[in-house]
């Protein structure tokens, strides 16, 4: 098994830092699945149905200048590594000004994902910091628990407003109450509400637009104006938005009435999906 990848551009390093920050916030332990054409980060293990689920994909060409992998075998050309997400984030978070960021699967006293950050110091010298993150190589029997979640049919799908705006509104509202109501309709409208005994706050977003409906995903003949709702834990929503600095090229919110909130962010070849079950 081999894996070696290198990011050499500052902008891409920034994207990777942000991605590992998101993963660290949403999945304490994550599974890194190394495929010949991409890397996937997901919540670890077989998560129970009621739990939130994260899935990130980074295409090989998206960030990496160099990418080389050899999986478990020729037929099963993938590697599944389980690691503590916070370790990865801490190793890369100060690498903003690095000249390069290298990931490599190594075996020191135990299997490690080695992160090497190369920095040009103020004196013109280069300096390399190396972090060995302990990983567990997952045996094939556990691979089925770490597959990409199936896309469930949803009742409504709407584009999200600008993340920065959304994030600051969610942050301010999140000070009250524990649960937030997210609702949207097929007319490009989305509302967020929060309620306590003494106060209720509602934010209205209009003209967001809806992604084109696929015939499989959504049933027809639904009223355009009807709001589809789901109540979710505000902390999970907040954690998802925290740390999203880069504006995605596409941001979608899918709601399955009173069951699931599914958020998708896509930035070129990097995608992040997060499903929050209803509370």
């Amino acid at each position: 098994m081999k894996f070696r990848a290198k990011i050499s551009s500052k902008g891409f390093i920034e994207v990777f830092i942000q991605l590992s920050g998101t993963v660290a916030k949403l999945a304490k332990v994550c599974v890194l699945r190394v495929c010949p054409d991409k890397l996937c980060f997901s919540s670890a293990g077989s998560t129970p149905v009621r739990a939130d689920r994260l899935w990130c994909e980074v295409g090989r060409g998206a960030l990496f200048r160099q990418f080389h992998m050899e999986g478990v075998s020729e037929e099963l050309n993938e590697i599944y590594l389980e690691l503590t997400s916070e370790h990865l984030f801490r190793a890369v978070k100060n690498a903003r000004n690095a000249a390069s960021l290298k990931l490599q699967l190594t075996k020191k006293r135990r299997p490690c994902l080695t992160v090497a950050v190369e920095l040009a110091s103020c004196t013109g010298h280069t300096r390399v910091v190396v972090h060995d993150l302990p990983v567990r190589v997952l045996p094939r029997i556990l691979w089925k628990d770490c597959l990409k979640p199936r896309v469930r049919a949803c009742d409504v799908s709407v584009y999200l407003p600008a993340l920065k705006t959304l994030k600051s509104i969610v942050e301010k509202m999140a000070n009250m109450g524990d649960y937030m109501l997210v609702e949207a309709n097929r007319n490009g409208q989305m509302n967020l509400s929060i309620e306590t005994d003494t106060v209720s706050i509602k934010s209205y977003f209009k003209n967001l637009g809806n992604p084109p409906e696929s015939t499989l995903a959504t049933p027809q003949n639904r009223d355009q104006e009807r709001m589809v709702q789901v109540w979710v834990d505000k902390r999970k929503l907040l954690q998802f938005f925290e740390g999203q600095q880069i504006n995605p090229t596409m941001a979608v919110c899918n709601i399955l009435s009173n069951t699931l909130l599914h958020l998708v962010l896509v930035h070129e070849d990097v995608s992040i999906q997060y499903s929050i079950p209803a509370s």
């Binding site: 190793a91 920095l119 004196t123 010298h125 300096r127 390399v128 910091v129 190396v130």
Partner: protein, 417 residues
């Protein structure tokens, strides 16, 4: 005459002063204000006596500086300095945002009112605003470290910005960090002792080339392990002073000194280092660190036994076994004591041996009642008294025995911080 301090600073001086207090707050929760003719020293020692910080502001740092010692009329006419100990909780919030203090404060006055045991800090700010803080102090003799940094075999000098850059990249979860040097390179890495036990810990390593240092002299290849937190505290302060940081050290077990010397102030942080060397075969007892533990202490017995003993919360400055004469028989008693007692720092040991008389030590420091600890402490610490000659003849017996010649303080063979 009563001991007192009275000084004044401008806004930008307050910023440096505030940063000094912040750096010392990382060492411990208590701060001594110790004025003398050399200037105003701020001192701090951590509860386990494994870290000591002292920042001495020379009289020329201040806009005005006045101090006096009190004189007790008795047959000896002994003088006493201002023995002023403040809680960090009281003084730290006053200097909370040094940068904004620099902007808003035009003048700051600090003076003591000994009869009320109070320190008064007054800020004269813009728009005619005057802010006065009164802090009660405890009468307590400050501790002082005696450490001969010029006699260390390894000395490095580096611009604080370089070291800070390097340290920021090195974000390890572990409290301890190991510095490994050879004449050709400098490596900062996670302490291998800690990472051995924790199966889920990250190991980090960073090299800095010798040419990045202003001065790089390595006499002895060595690997020493010390607490990262205190290094970071020193670094944030150094960025305020723009002077290079010197690092002086020798072998594991001997303390490490971090110093800044600019014309107006002198800062010294003395940190204990682990006395164990990873390369040596260690006995099973040595260094069983649990995740929550801070630095384990390692006590050295005499060199032929070469045992290392760990005790949960016992942390001390320790010395390698080689200078055996510093540790006569009492060490074996003390080791068993150390093993049995959870925290000798707080407890009094039953051991009776101590060559150090009471008089050299402040009565208010309970920890010094422990003869074992006192052995170590007095190696490096001495209570400050204005009658230094007499003081050193008493409390530094152990030290003078160790040195080859009978030099006393005044010969300057030991620099006192």
């Amino acid at each position: 005459m009563v001991a007192m301090l009275k000084c004044g600073m401008s806004g930008s001086q307050v910023k440096v002063f505030g940063k000094a207090i912040q750096a010392l707050s990382r060492v411990s929760d208590e701060l001594w204000l110790d004025p003398s003719e050399k200037g105003l020293a701020l001192r701090s020692v951590n509860s386990s006596r494994s870290a000591y910080g002292c920042i001495l502001f020379s009289p020329v740092f201040f806009q005005h500086y006045q101090w006096s010692a009190s004189v007790k009329i008795n047959d000896k006419d002994t003088t006493f300095n201002l023995n002023c100990k403040l809680g960090m909780k009281s003084i730290l919030p006053i200097f909370r945002c040094p940068n904004s203090l620099e902007r808003n404060v035009e003048k700051c006055k600090i003076f003591t009112r000994s009869e009320k045991c109070k320190v008064v800090i007054q800020f004269f700010c813009r728009y005619g605003i005057k802010r006065t803080h009164n802090i009660c102090f405890q009468e307590s003799q400050p501790l002082q470290v005696i450490f001969e940094k010029n006699m260390c075999s390894n000395t490095l000098m580096i611009q604080p910005r370089l070291l800070a850059e390097a340290v920021v990249l090195f974000t390890s979860n572990q409290e301890e960090v190991t510095l490994a040097v050879t004449p050709l390179n400098f490596c900062l890495k996670s302490s291998s002792e800690e990472s051995m036990d924790l199966t889920n810990s990250v190991y980090s390593e960073m090299f800095v080339g010798p040419d990045e240092f202003d001065y790089f002299q390595i006499g002895v290849d060595t690997e020493i392990t010390f607490c990262f937190k205190e290094l970071k505290g020193m670094l944030t302060f150094s960025e305020a002073t723009h002077a290079p940081i010197s690092i002086h050290f020798d072998f594991p077990g001997k303390p490490l000194a971090l110093s800044i010397d600019d014309m107006l102030l002198e800062a010294n942080f003395i940190l204990a280092t682990l006395a164990d060397e990873p390369s040596r075969a260690s006995s099973p007892q040595s260094l069983c660190l649990s995740q929550k533990q801070k630095r384990s202490d390692v006590m050295q017995s005499n060199s032929k036994a070469d045992e290392k003993v760990t005790s949960q919360a016992l942390e001390c400055l320790s010395r390698k076994a080689a200078p055996k004469r510093l540790y006569p028989e009492e060490t074996s008693t003390n080791i068993s004591v150390a093993a049995n007692h959870g925290s000798p720092v707080m407890k009094r040991t039953a051991g009776d041996i101590s060559k150090v008389p009471e008089s050299g030590v402040s009565d208010t420091e309970e920890v010094f009642r422990s003869p074992y600890l006192r052995k170590f402490s007095c190696m490096f610490f001495g209570a400050v008294s204005s009658d230094q000659q007499e003081h050193f003849n008493h409390s530094l017996d152990s030290l003078t025995r160790a040195s080859d010649s009978d030099e006393d303080m005044n010969n300057g063979s030991f620099s006192t911080f």
